[in-house]
C-alpha cells in the first residue's frame, strides 16, 4: 500500500484538533471536580447516576485523547511544541485566540471572588471563604482549558464550510 506523505501543516492540524478536544475534556473534568462539593448527591440518586456515567465517559475519552495527542505531538517540530506555536498561520491564529480567551476567562472567573469584599451582593452569591484554594484553582484551570478549546474547535469547524 502506498504511503501518502503528510505535510507539516496537516500534522499540525491533526495535533491542534486532538489538543483542543483534550483541553475541552480536561476542562470539563476539572470544572466538575471543583463543583462536586456544591452538588447535592444525597437527595437525588438519578443525579448521582448521570454524573457518575458522564464522569466515567469523560475519563475514558480523556485517556483516548491523551494517546492521540502523544502520538501526534511527536510528528510536529519540538521547538513549536515547547513554544506552543504553529508554523501554519491560521492554526497559530486559532491557538493565540484560544490563549486570549483563556486569559480573559481567568479575570471573569476570579473577579467575583476579588470583589466579594467590596459588595455584599457579590459576597452572598460567591462566598469566597466557603471555597478552598484547591477547589478555586481547579475551577480556574478548568475554565481556562474550556475557554482555550472552544474558540479553537469553533474556528476549525467553521473553516470546513
Amino acid at each position: 500500500m502506498e504511503k501518502v506523505a503528510v505535510s507539516n501543516s496537516e500534522r499540525e492540524l491533526q495535533y491542534i484538533t486532538w489538543h483542543a478536544y483534550l483541553a475541552l475534556v480536561m476542562g470539563l473534568l476539572f470544572c466538575s471536580a471543583s463543583l462536586e462539593p456544591f452538588l447535592d448527591f444525597q437527595s437525588s440518586k438519578a443525579l448521582t447516576f448521570v454524573y457518575g456515567i458522564a464522569k466515567f465517559g469523560l475519563s475514558v475519552y480523556f485517556i483516548y485523547l491523551m494517546c492521540k495527542v502523544v502520538t501526534t505531538m511527536s510528528s510536529i517540530k519540538k521547538r513549536n511544541f515547547w513554544t506552543a506555536s504553529f508554523e501554519d498561520e491560521y492554526l497559530n491564529h486559532l491557538n493565540l485566540l484560544g490563549f486570549k480567551w483563556s486569559f480573559h476567562s481567568v479575570i471573569f472567573t476570579l473577579s467575583p471572588f476579588l470583589f466579594s469584599n467590596i459588595s455584599s451582593l457579590i459576597s452572598e452569591s460567591f462566598p469566597a471563604d466557603s471555597i478552598s484554594a484547591k477547589a478555586l484553582a481547579t475551577l480556574v484551570v478548568g475554565v481556562m482549558f474550556v475557554c482555550y478549546a472552544l474558540p479553537v474547535l469553533y474556528g476549525l469547524n467553521k473553516s470546513d464550510e
Partner: protein, 67 residues
C-alpha cells in the same frame, strides 16, 4: 468576512482547476488556511499572500484588493 480586504483566490484557483489541498501544499499551509482566506474569515500575512501570488504568477494587487 473581512470588511476591508477582498480576494479572487477562489475564482483563480477554480480557473486553474486546483483543489484547496493542492494550493495549500504548493504554498506550504494547511487546507483550512486556504479555505479561511478564500472566504475572507482570515487575513493572511504578506508572506503567504506573496507566495499565493507567485504560485499563480500574478501580481499581488490583482489577487487582493481593498474595498
Amino acid at each position: 468576512m473581512n470588511e476591508q480586504l477582498e480576494n479572487d483566490i477562489h475564482s483563480v484557483r477554480v480557473l486553474n482547476k486546483l483543489s484547496q489541498q493542492q494550493l495549500a501544499d504548493a504554498v506550504g499551509v494547511s487546507r483550512k488556511t486556504i479555505s479561511t482566506i478564500e472566504t475572507g474569515r482570515f487575513t493572511p500575512s504578506v508572506v503567504i499572500a506573496l507566495k499565493i501570488a507567485k504560485f499563480f504568477d500574478m501580481p499581488l494587487e490583482s489577487l487582493f484588493k481593498l474595498k
